[in-house]
Every structure is written in C-alpha cells, then in structure tokens.
C-alpha cells in the first residue's frame, strides 16, 4: 500500500518542478485569499494534531508562519500602493523557497517519513505523507488547477481525521470545515462578494444539500469493506487481559466512556448489571491471565489472540441452544451495546449472551469477542438469558485448570481453604461462610489500599484487609480453589449510569469491576461477588458515599471540579450533551448494514400499511405550504407596505361604518376626517392619523421619496392607531349600551 501511494505523491511533486514558472497565465490571488488559504490549512491540519508527529507539526507550523510573514509583508506594501490606486490588489504567489530547496524538502521529508514509518505504523505514516504534501503544495500554486488540488487535499486531510475521532462535535466541526474549504473556491469566483455573504451562500447551499445526503445515508446500501486497510493503531484502552492486583484502581479514576447500552424493554436492576468482558482462569501467584490452553492446541505461530479466537464458534442463539454446555431458561433480555474503541477485542454483555452478528464470537468461557480489533465505535445487538444454566457438567480439563494453584505463594490462604473444606463439606455452606466473614470482620473497601509485598494475597487477606474488587475477587477465587471448588475470576464492568433523557445506560471505565465465578454441581457456573459482601452499596448503587468522597479527593488536583459536579444543572447539561452524543453514536456512527436493512424493512412495512403515506403527503403538503407562505409573506413585506396602508384605511372605514359613521362616496378622505372631528371629537386623533397616512400615500405621491423601512414604521404606527380607535369605539359602544 505504501509503495503504491508513494510514487503517486512523487509524481505529484515532479511535474510541478518542471513547470515553467514564467508562463503568463499565472494565477493571481488577492492577499485576502492567501490568508484564507493559510488559515484553512492551519485548521485542516489542526484536526489531525493529536495523531501527527511533533517534528512534522514543527515543520508545518514553520512553513505556515513563513508564508504568513511573506504575505503579510506583501499586504502591507500593497496597502501603501492601493491608497494611490483603489483597486483590489491581486498578485502572483511570491517565490518563497527556491525550487531546489523544495525538491530537497520533498525528498528528505518523504525519506524521513519512510524511516519513521516503522514506529508510526502504516496508516499514520500515510497520514504524514498526505499532510506533508499538503504543506508543500501551499508553496506552489502557480495555476488555478493547483489551487483546486490544494483545496481538495485540504478537504481530504480534514476528512481523514474522522478515522480517529468520530464524536458528534468533532464530526460537525469537520463538516463545517469542509464547507469552509469550499468557500475558498467561491472566493476565487466572486472576489467582489463580501466574506459574510460568501459564508452565507455556502451555508445555504450546504443546508440545501442536507436532505439528499440524509436520504442517501439512510437508503444507500451499506457496503462491506472492499479491501483490507491499515488499521488505526493506538494504545489499548480499558481492561487488560492480564490483571495484577491494583490494576483496576487506575481505571477507577477514569471518566472515559467504555460503552453504552440501550435496553429494548425494561431496564434491569443495577445489581444485575454484571457486564462480562473476559474470564481469567490462569493464576501464577501474581497475575491472573486467560488460560493459554487454546493456544497450545493451535499451531505454533498463533501468538496473537485473534488467531486462537477464530477457532471459537459464533454466539448465535442456535449455537447456544444446541450446545450441551448451556441450558437456556427464562425470557431473553434484548439490548444494543455501542462500544467505544478499546483497541482490543473484548465485548461486553450480561450473562448469558447470544448475538446473531457474524463478526461476534463466543469463547467457551462465555465471553463474547469481536473478530478483529475494535478500533472504532462498534455497535452490536445482544440477547441475554440471565437465568441460563452455564456448564451443567464440567469437563475434566477445565475442572483441573480451575483448581490449579501456585501453592508456594500464599500458604496461609491455602491452609485456610483446606481448613474450611474440612469444616464445611457442602460447597454452598463454605461459600456463605467466607462471604459472612468478609462482611462481618473488618474488611473495608477502598481505592487506596496499602501496598502489598509481592502482590501477596495472604498479606491482604489476613493483615491489611483493605482493598477493592480485585483484591476480594482474587483472594476469594484463590480460597475457593484451595477448598477444592472450581473457581475463576471474571473481569468486566458493574452497573453504569442511566441517562434519563436518552434512556440508555452509560458505562464508564470507572465502572470496571472484578468478581468470581464458582462451579457448583447441578447449578453450573455461579457468579459470586465478594465485593458485595464487603460493601453492598458498591454493588447496589455503583458507588458508596464514602467511596464517592474518596473518589473526589483522588481526582481533585489544582482545579477541582467537585463543586461543579454537585451542581444539578451541570449534571443536567452534561446529561443532555451526552444524550445527543449517544443518539449520534447510535444512529450515525452505529448505522450498520443490519440496522439499515431493519430500518428499511420497517419503513417498507409501514408504507404497506398505508398510514405513513398519508403522513408523508401531509408533511409534504405542509412543507410546500410553508414554503409558499414564506414567499408570499416575504413578497408582501418587501414592496407592499403602501397596499397595506390602503387596506388599513379601508378596514378603518368598515369599522367606522359598523358604528354608524358611514363615509359617503362623494366625500374625500379629508372631508370625512372633518366630519368625524365634529361628530366624534374623541376619535378624531386616531382617525386623522390613519386618514392622513392614507391621503399622504394616495395624493401627495410621497411613496417614491421615502424608503421601505420608513413605510414599515409608518404602517406600524397606523396599525397602533387603528387598534386604539377600535378600542375607543368598543368602549363607547359599551358605555352607550
């Protein structure tokens, strides 16, 4: 890919070099235009600023600053000249860098990017190449064609930043930026137009193009990728697949979104929301990992998890139903999960989850995974069966694995386990005993546990007795294994925050949690959360009050958000913003092929029913009416103030006639006004105002001299008089009657 793209860039550079600069049809631009170009280049590059390398950023800034200074100088000189001759100054782009230097820059830059490509990765190095070409192109715009190329390059740079970030505000900003780039072209063709008018025009045209774009977006088939593209590489986010004690504490401070869920029907209880991400069943005394059993079964070159995972089956309902491992019971709970990019492949679901999507697989420990890396927002549909029985029978290999202990590490815990086993032959009694101990003895939940030597579980369980979910889950699982009960640790998220305005659940990284799973004969794998025994609030509501306090203390730095956080309006606004972002994520970013076919099917079905046709027609008719109404109103407001005054006068006459003050046909307006003045002097002031306005308009030919605005003002005055007159007449009538 790189090899293909590079020569094409080279070709782009070369013809420019060979071009004869002394041709007479050089492109001349105004200095306003040059500054416009510079500003938009800055903005376009700014969209990628997080992704770009520091060296390139320095280069780009330097290039922009250099050009800015040169153009500023020219503009200054131009300002002096244009005082003498008042015309729009346009000039050919000045030669800022000599051609040989440009060539040198182009070659050395490309080489530097190629060298850095090893560390940058394919996608980013291509991005750098693109931006580099964009920076250099700015120096050379001898012809209109080059300006076109520059603009298109700019749009491409701005758009490609969406590969990395897709949040609603960023996306909208990029869309605005794209249209801003197009405004440069408008400026080229209408240099006499005011910038504001240009912006207005572009905005208008942009708005006009929205309906069709939306229709295309909704209706045009979503295609699957045509070929493999270099993926976005980034640091992994969220849970990691090997957990040492203390890892989750870092996550607990993160406000970053992990995923969002919208339930189809009812929202389950907070305490039910154990989002399983992965199962860690291999413990070496310090670190919990996923067992590598599956890897050893595969060929030797399968180092990456994906290769191994491809051997797992799909997560469909069919598969689950036919599998001996699973006994589906109860009703299903359907929901949609929209996972934020984690650059891993774990998916999140409640137990026991099935998904009909082909790109989702299920491990034999019931965790869902994505066949690939989640490098951008991923939305998937899941149906869970909370009452399902998992692994009623346990294969010997799995049992052995889940009983495996590295005995030399935590002898006291091991001894305790064995002792418990002797005391309680029944598994359930044993578990309850341990949980009761955790609850009643002074274990407490904290995000700042004292340091443990060598990650010793013994030290935690018997001495410090302070820790968070991971400590408890880890020791509990160890204890269970020591007592001969197959147990494993599960890592995922617990709970989440309901957004009431959007009716969805947001799960943040700080909701990361770890719990245990034990296997009991007949019942299969059972979830046991030792943390719930220590600090039930943590499970019931997410965070206990004491923990909240601790959390705030931890996160507050110099600039504390604590006061702000507690303000209800801040929460409200944040919730609204988040809800908008959620809808965007759900309907735009997460608008997959499946969703599209679903939407289209729904649309078709409702069309068949016929009721939507009516709605559609009504909406259409409404829109047409609105449009015409707008036109009519606009037309009236424009030139017809005179007519309105005339109409107002006639209306007044009608009103007067209703009150026995009839104007004879032979009377002039002035005569009638005099009649009114003598007959009903109290009305005279208001009536005269209207009458005079009318007379002025009709006979004095004043209309030509005064502007529309004055007309409108006069009209408003006359209307006021009319209302007063009506009021007076009405009062008089009441008084008489």
């Amino acid at each position: 890919m790189k090899n293909i793209i590079k020569p094409s860039f080279k070709q782009k550079f070369k013809p420019r070099k060979s071009k004869n600069p002394s041709e007479n049809n050089d492109l001349k631009l105004t200095s306003q235009m040059y500054f416009c170009l510079l500003i938009f280049q800055l903005l376009n590059l700014a969209t990628l600023v997080i992704q770009l390398h520091l060296l390139y950023l320095l280069f780009a800034t330097f290039a922009l600053a250099l050009q800015f200074i040169v153009h500023l100088n020219i503009a200054r000189k131009g300002a002096l000249v244009s005082r003498l001759s008042q015309s729009i100054k346009s000039y050919v782009r000045p030669k800022i860098l000599p051609p040989w230097l440009m060539l040198l820059l182009a070659i050395s830059g490309s080489v530097a990017i190629a060298v850095a490509g090893q560390t940058l990765g394919l996608l980013l190095s291509m991005m750098h190449l693109l931006c580099f070409a964009y920076s250099l192109k700015m120096f050379e715009i001898p012809r209109r064609k080059d300006l076109y190329q520059l603009v298109v390059l700019g749009i491409f740079v701005a758009t490609s930043s969406l590969i990395f970030i897709q949040s609603i505000y960023f996306s909208l900003a990029v869309i605005v930026l794209v249209f801003g780039n197009l405004m440069i072209l408008l400026n080229l063709f209408a240099p006499t137009m005011a910038v504001l008018a240009q912006a207005k025009l572009v905005a208008k045209l942009g708005l006009y193009s929205v309906p069709l774009a939306v229709a295309l977006f909704v209706g045009f088939p979503k295609l699957s990728p045509f070929w493999q593209v270099p993926s976005v590489e980034s640091a992994k986010v969220g849970l990691s697949d090997s957990v040492k004690i203390g890892d989750i504490a870092q996550l607990a401070l993160s406000d970053e979104l992990a995923f969002r869920v919208s339930f189809q029907n009812s929202n389950p209880e907070h305490a039910q929301l154990y989002w399983r991400a992965m199962v860690l069943d291999d413990f070496d005394g310090v670190t919990w990992r996923q067992s590598r059993r599956d890897l050893s079964q595969n060929s030797q070159n399968s180092q990456s998890g994906q290769n191994a995972q491809s051997s797992y089956g799909s997560a469909t309902f069919e598969q689950a139903n036919s599998s001996a491992d699973i006994e589906l019971r109860g009703t299903g709970l359907s929901y949609q999960v929209i996972a934020e990019p984690s650059f891993q492949s774990w998916l999140f679901a409640l137990d026991f989850a099935t998904s009909e999507q082909g790109n989702i697989g299920q491990r034999d420990d019931f965790a869902l995974f994505y066949r690939g890396i989640i490098s951008q927002t991923l939305s998937y549909q899941v149906t869970s069966y909370p009452a399902a029985k998992m692994s009623a029978t346990l294969p010997d290999a799995t049992r052995a694995l889940n009983l495996l202990l590295s005995t030399d590490n935590n002898p006291k815990l091991l001894a305790k386990g064995q002792q418990l086993r002797q005391q309680y032959p029944d598994d359930r009694q044993l578990i309850n005993q341990v949980l009761t101990e955790l609850n009643e003895e002074n274990y407490y939940y904290t995000l700042q546990p004292p340091r443990l030597n060598n990650n010793s579980l013994d030290q935690f369980y018997f001495d410090t007795r302070a820790g968070f979910c991971e400590h408890y889950a880890s020791s509990f699982t160890y204890l269970m294994r020591a007592a001969g009960i197959p147990a494993r640790m599960v890592v995922g998220y617990l709970g989440g925050e309901f957004n009431l305005s959007g009716n969805y659940l947001s799960v943040y990284q700080r909701n990361a949690h770890a719990w245990s799973e034990v296997w009991l004969p007949n019942d299969g794998w059972q979830r046991i959360d030792p943390t719930a025994a220590v600090d039930p609030e943590r499970v019931e509501r997410g965070f206990s009050t004491s923990l909240m306090q601790e959390y705030d203390d931890l996160s507050s730095g110099l600039f504390s958000l604590q006061a702000l956080r507690s303000m209800w309006w801040y929460k409200q606004v944040k919730m609204q913003i988040d809800a908008i972002d959620y809808q965007w994520t759900r309907w735009v970013i997460g608008y997959t092929g499946q969703k599209q076919s679903r939407v289209m099917a729904q649309l078709l079905a409702s069309l068949k029913q016929g009721k939507n046709v009516l709605y559609f027609l009504l909406i259409l008719a409404g829109a047409v009416l609105l449009f015409y109404g707008y036109k009519v109103v606009k037309g009236k407001a424009k030139g017809k103030a005179e007519d309105k005054i005339k109409a107002l006068y006639l209306k007044t006459l009608k009103l007067m006639a209703q009150h026995q003050l009839v104007k004879a046909r032979s009377m002039t307006a002035q005569q009638f006004a005099d009649v009114i003045a003598t007959a009903r002097p109290e009305l005279s002031a208001n009536f005269c105002a209207i009458s005079n306005g009318f007379a002025q308009l009709s006979y004095q030919n004043f209309a030509d001299d005064i502007s529309q605005q004055e007309h409108a003002k006069q009209l408003i005055k006359l209307q006021l008089s009319y209302r007063r007159l009506r009021w007076q007449l009405w009062l008089a009538k009441l008084g008489i009657d």
């Binding site: 969406l162 990029v174 869309i175 063709f189 209408a190 774009a213 045509f226 593209v229």
Partner: protein
C-alpha cells in the same frame, strides 16, 4: 505519412460534418433574435474537469469510509455529492433569467478588433460571467491565406480550438449588478465580407468551478468586414509604379496640398489644424488676420479609385490597397469616387460615402 494525412483529413471532414449538424441543431434550438432571455431552454451545463475530479474524490472518500466502515466519512461523501447537485442548480441560476439586447451591427477592417455592445438586464446580482465570440472555425480558415501574426498565434496553440482561452478575445464581468449593464465584447475580424456576426458564447463557472454553464446566442447582427488597409501601393518601393498608374487619376490626391495645381476658389478664416501651406501669408502680413486659401480641386482632377487600374496583385491585395486609399482619403477629407468592376460609387466626400465605398469593397 500519406495515410496519416488522409485519416487526419477524414477526421477533419467528419468534424466539419458534425459541426454543421450541431450548428443546424443549435439554430433550431436557439433561434436568432436581437433580444433574448436565457433560461432552461438555452443554457447548457456540464461539469468542468475540476468538477469531474471532485466526483472522483467523492468516490475516494466513499471508498475510504467504506473500507474503514466509518459512517461519518461516508456521510461527508454523501454531503459532497448532494452539494455537487445543489451547485449544479446554483450555477445554472447564475445564468438563467439574464436578458440581452443587441442593437448595433459591427463594421470594421479585417484584423482589427471590434467591440460588440450588448445591454444585459438582470434582476439579481451575478458573478463572473465571461462573454466571447465563438470564432474558432473562422480563425483557422483564415489562417491559411492571411496575415502573419495570425499564423503565429495559431502555431502557438495548434490543438486549442477555443479562443476563449486567450484573454484578448473575451470580456469577463466579475460582478453583474441589478438592472442594466453595458458590456462590449471584443470581436476579431478575420475575413472580408458581410456576414452574420455569429454566436456569442456566454460562460459562467461561478459557484465553485465545478460546473461550466454556457449558452451560445445569435443576436441576428451583421458584420461588415472591410478589407485590411495595406499601404503597399504608396510604399517607396512601388512609388514609381504607383505614380505611373496614378498619373491621371491620383495626381490631385497625391499633391492636393500644393497650391497652384488647382483653381483658387476663396479665402476663409483660418481654422486651427489647417495646413500652414494654405495660409494666405500675404494677408497675414498685411494685418488682415489669418486666412486660408481654399482651392477648388474638383474639376481638373477628380480623384477616382479604379480597381482595374491598380497594379497587379491578388484580389484581396487590390481590395486592401483600395481600402487604404479610402481610409486615407476619409481622414484627409478628400472627395473621391470608387470604381469597381461591377459597380461605381459616385464622387463625394461625406462619412456616409466612405462607409458606402468600404461596404462595397467588403461585399465585392
């Protein structure tokens, strides 16, 4: 070599046939009239190269979005596509509704640039509209037997058929105001004769350069192209020959300023700009004021420009010489008569007379 020429000529003839059909169609589609309004019936619109390029770019964006399964990028590509369609309409409306009124026909010498006046009425402000004459075909025909610099220019751009590219042959209005606008469109006269003016090409790429909206209007006006004035007869080289030929006919024209040749007619008050040789110095010396001697040149040597008596040369050369002579006489206010093989223009010296003579030359 031979085959290439023949294929070339076949293509050329094919082109000319196509061109003929196209013109016939155009005449049916946009009939000639001196007042025209342009609308959907007579505006053509096509994407420019940049427009086509941007379409390709949209496709590229769509591919990028699809390959990354990135809906926002796909959305932007859709937005650009619909923007493209909106701009199509916008570019069209930049031309649509313009009203044109042409009143004057054109007269002028071959190889000079004339300006065709046109009144444009618009109900709204419009931007960047260029006007030019569709002269490609005439030019290339003319190149074969005429002027040197014409040849040069055609060599410079052998493949270009659009004259609109050269800045000389078009007028561009950066902004068209509401109401009446007067413009003058340059017209390069290439061929002698009296013929229809041809179509005015009105082009606008306003908007974003994505579309070229254009129309070709025929304002039913005539061009009267007089032969190019060439002073060959009176150059030093051919002086002798010219004198010999002109002995009878042109003597008074040659030496009309020398007193004594013609009969003295009267004295008149000196007008600024009259030749000093005619000033009656005697009267000046006597203090009677500045007077000039008026001669009656007519009777003895009526100037007749006779086609038959010109030195040998091609038809066009001869006409060019005559043209020069008429122009010269007209500027010097000398009366003359013109004799062409098929007609005679009587002796006179008014401006109308000059035009009549030149028109006769143009029509010959």
């Amino acid at each position: 070599m031979f085959s290439s020429i023949s294929t070339g000529s076949i293509i050329a003839s094919l082109k000319s046939v196509l061109h003929k059909y196209f013109n016939a169609w155009l005449t049916r589609r946009i009939p000639q009239a001196s007042r025209q309004q342009i609308n959907h019936r007579n505006i053509f619109i096509m994407p420019t190269r940049f427009g086509a390029g941007l379409l390709m770019f949209m496709l590229l964006l769509f591919l990028l979005g699809t390959n990354y399964q990135n809906n926002v990028i796909i959305l932007i590509s859709y937005l650009l596509v619909s923007f493209f369609i909106v701009v199509l309409h916008h570019s069209f409306f930049n031309l649509s509704g313009l009203q044109f009124k042409a009143t004057n026909s054109l007269q002028g010498f071959v190889d000079s640039t004339l300006y065709f006046p046109l009144v444009i009425t618009s109900k709204k402000v419009r931007f960047t509209i260029s006007f030019s004459f569709d002269q490609a075909r005439v030019k290339t025909e003319q190149v074969i037997d005429h002027s040197v610099d014409e040849n040069k220019s055609s060599k410079r751009k052998p493949s270009k058929s659009k004259p609109s590219n050269s800045a000389l042959s078009k007028t561009t209005l950066a902004q068209l105001e509401i109401g009446e606008n007067n413009i003058r469109i340059p017209y390069r006269v290439c061929q002698r004769g009296q013929y229809p003016l041809g179509r005015v090409l009105i082009i606008s790429e306003f908007g974003f350069g994505l579309f070229k909206a254009w129309t070709r209007l025929d304002f039913a006006q005539q061009v009267t192209a007089y032969p190019k004035p060439i002073a060959n007869v009176w150059t030093v080289k051919q002086q002798n020959l010219a004198i010999e030929v002109a002995e009878n006919n042109l003597e008074s024209y040659q030496d009309s300023f020398q007193p004594g040749q013609d009969e003295f007619h009267q004295l008149q008050h000196y007008q600024l700009g009259e030749p000093l040789s005619r000033v009656a110095w005697k009267h000046v010396a006597q203090g009677q004021g500045w007077l000039t001697k008026q001669y009656q040149q007519a009777l003895s040597g009526k100037l007749q420009l006779d086609f038959e008596r010109l030195p040998n040369g091609t038809l066009e050369q001869r006409l060019s010489w005559l043209s020069y002579a008429i122009k010269d006489c007209s500027t010097k206010q000398i009366a003359f008569s013109l004799k062409l093989p098929d007609q005679v223009v009587e002796y006179d010296h008014s401006a109308q007379h000059t035009l009549k003579c030149l028109t006769a030359l143009a029509r010959y």
